[in-house]
């Protein structure tokens, strides 16, 4: 089983030099900690910043400088500020290379649900619908099952969806899954996890890659 940090580390293997990346709130944020040394990766924050840096040192918080999770942050050299329309413009026009976000449910056709639980939660979609409708490469990172022990990898989303057939890859504590025409394809499995465990925890169509390997970090 992967820890949250290992899940982030797994996703960090997708990073390439020169990439522009948007990281969602939660586990996705941790990916920033695993950018390989010497690699230039620019983090976009959809509230209007390219070139997000780490959290500020205590006493150096700036109320005018926050990320999309409303956390105080810093900038790196070469950063730029812009308005929210420009920000989503660069997302829509495919300038952001990789989007990593969490989800409540992912369907085996790539549908994602992460914004609403009817009658329970009405927080809103924020930028998630724009991101999933536009990003070239969307990776979801989430726990494989919810708090009630139910699979979050489903044949179809039960919650209102955020976007249709958009997720390319899912990383959970059990491993790495591509979304294919045949549903979830288990490509790498976490150390100490059996294929049966994955099968039992997955309600959506699942196939096992003939080249299944154990995940090495």
């Amino acid at each position: 089983m992967l820890s949250k940090d290992q899940m982030a580390q797994t996703i960090a293997r997708e990073l390439r030099d020169g990439m522009y990346v948007n990281l969602g709130i939660g586990i996705p944020t941790l990916v920033a900690n695993y950018i390989p040394g010497g690699m230039q990766v620019v983090l976009q924050s959809e509230n209007g910043l390219l070139g997000m840096g780490p959290f500020p040192q205590p006493g150096h918080e700036d109320a005018d400088l926050i990320n999309a999770g409303k956390q105080t942050i810093t900038t790196v050299a070469g950063s730029s500020f812009f308005d929210s329309a420009t920000s989503f413009g660069m997302i829509r026009s495919g300038k952001v290379d990789l989007t990593v976000l969490g989800a409540m449910e992912v369907a085996d056709n790539g549908d994602i649900a992460n914004w609403k639980i009817p009658g329970k939660m009405v927080k809103g979609m924020g930028g998630a619908m724009d991101l999933v409708a536009s990003a070239k490469n969307i990776i979801v990172v989430m726990q494989h099952v919810n708090k009630a022990g139910q699979s979050k990898l489903l044949p179809a989303c039960t919650l209102p969806i955020t976007g249709k057939a958009c997720v390319k890859k899912v990383v959970t504590e059990f491993g790495v899954f591509s979304i294919t025409a045949q549903g979830f394809l288990l490509e790498e499995i976490a150390p100490g996890v059996s294929v049966e465990t994955v099968q039992n925890a997955t309600l959506g169509r699942l196939s096992i890659s003939p080249t299944l390997s154990q995940l090495h970090l």
Partner: protein, 235 residues
């Protein structure tokens, strides 16, 4: 004809009950604190507020919600606000949730005089209900898009870092967010600034909102600039 007002109270004096307002800011960052305080003071009610968020219980638009001044919120994300949730579930408050990029762009398009445009956000979701969906080919690939309309707002209330009597505005860091978009979009745009500088003090190359969009401007007072999530690195 001066655009400069002495205070939020004098600048907002003709905002009527039932008005549609745009309010700049993302979370509590870059919100028009003085304008909100004036609205609370005035007690104007039945407002429709277009704003990315709804503030927190005791700050930002939360102050208007607490006084039951808001009839409808049009936002992308309204977490962090228990009173909001209570009013919504009890049916006192109407809410329309919109993808954040669509919200920003609907403001911008009002400022650009473009009544409608197509965006992929929300295709195939609840957001698409009742909207025209249409395919366009981009870079050889056909893809579905929703038609969305420009917003209309009676007043846009925005917050800038610096401004001048000509109405020119400059924002700071991520406090820019929705402010320049809404500034373009209001039938009447009211800007509060941290510092009102002499005309000519702002570099014409560096102005974010040209003065033509701003009808009224005043220097705000006593900014709290509350931080919602104070996060720091380990020293």
């Amino acid at each position: 004809m001066s655009k400069v007002y002495a205070s939020a109270a004098t600048a907002l004096t003709d905002v009527p009950n039932g008005a549609t307002l745009m309010l700049g800011g993302f979370g509590l960052c870059g919100i028009p604190e003085n304008c909100i305080a004036a609205l609370v003071q005035m007690g104007v009610s039945g407002l429709t507020c277009i704003s990315n968020n709804a503030g927190v219980d005791d700050f930002g638009i939360g102050l208007l919600l607490r006084q039951r001044q808001v009839k409808k919120m049009i936002s992308s994300y309204v977490g962090e606000n228990a009173e909001f949730e209570r009013q919504l579930l009890s049916g006192e408050l109407d809410v329309e949730l919109i993808p954040q990029g669509t919200l920003a762009t609907r403001c911008m398009m009002a400022g650009y005089g473009i009544p409608a445009f197509f965006t992929p956000a929300g295709v195939g979701t609840e957001v698409a209900e009742g909207k025209e969906t249409r395919n366009f080919v981009s870079n050889g690939v056909s893809k579905a898009y929703l038609m969305e309309l420009a917003f209309e707002a009676d007043f846009a209330l925005v917050k800038a870092w610096k401004g001048d009597a000509a109405g020119n505005l400059v924002y700071r860091a991520t406090a820019r967010n929705f402010n320049p978009l809404m500034a373009m979009a209001g039938k009447i745009t009211i800007a509060e600034v941290e510092e009102l500088v002499p005309v000519g003090a702002l570099d014409a190359n560096e102005i974010h909102t040209p003065g033509i969009y701003v009808h009224r401007i005043f220097e705000g007072k006593a900014y709290e600039k509350r931080i919602e999530q104070r996060t720091t690195s380990k020293v």
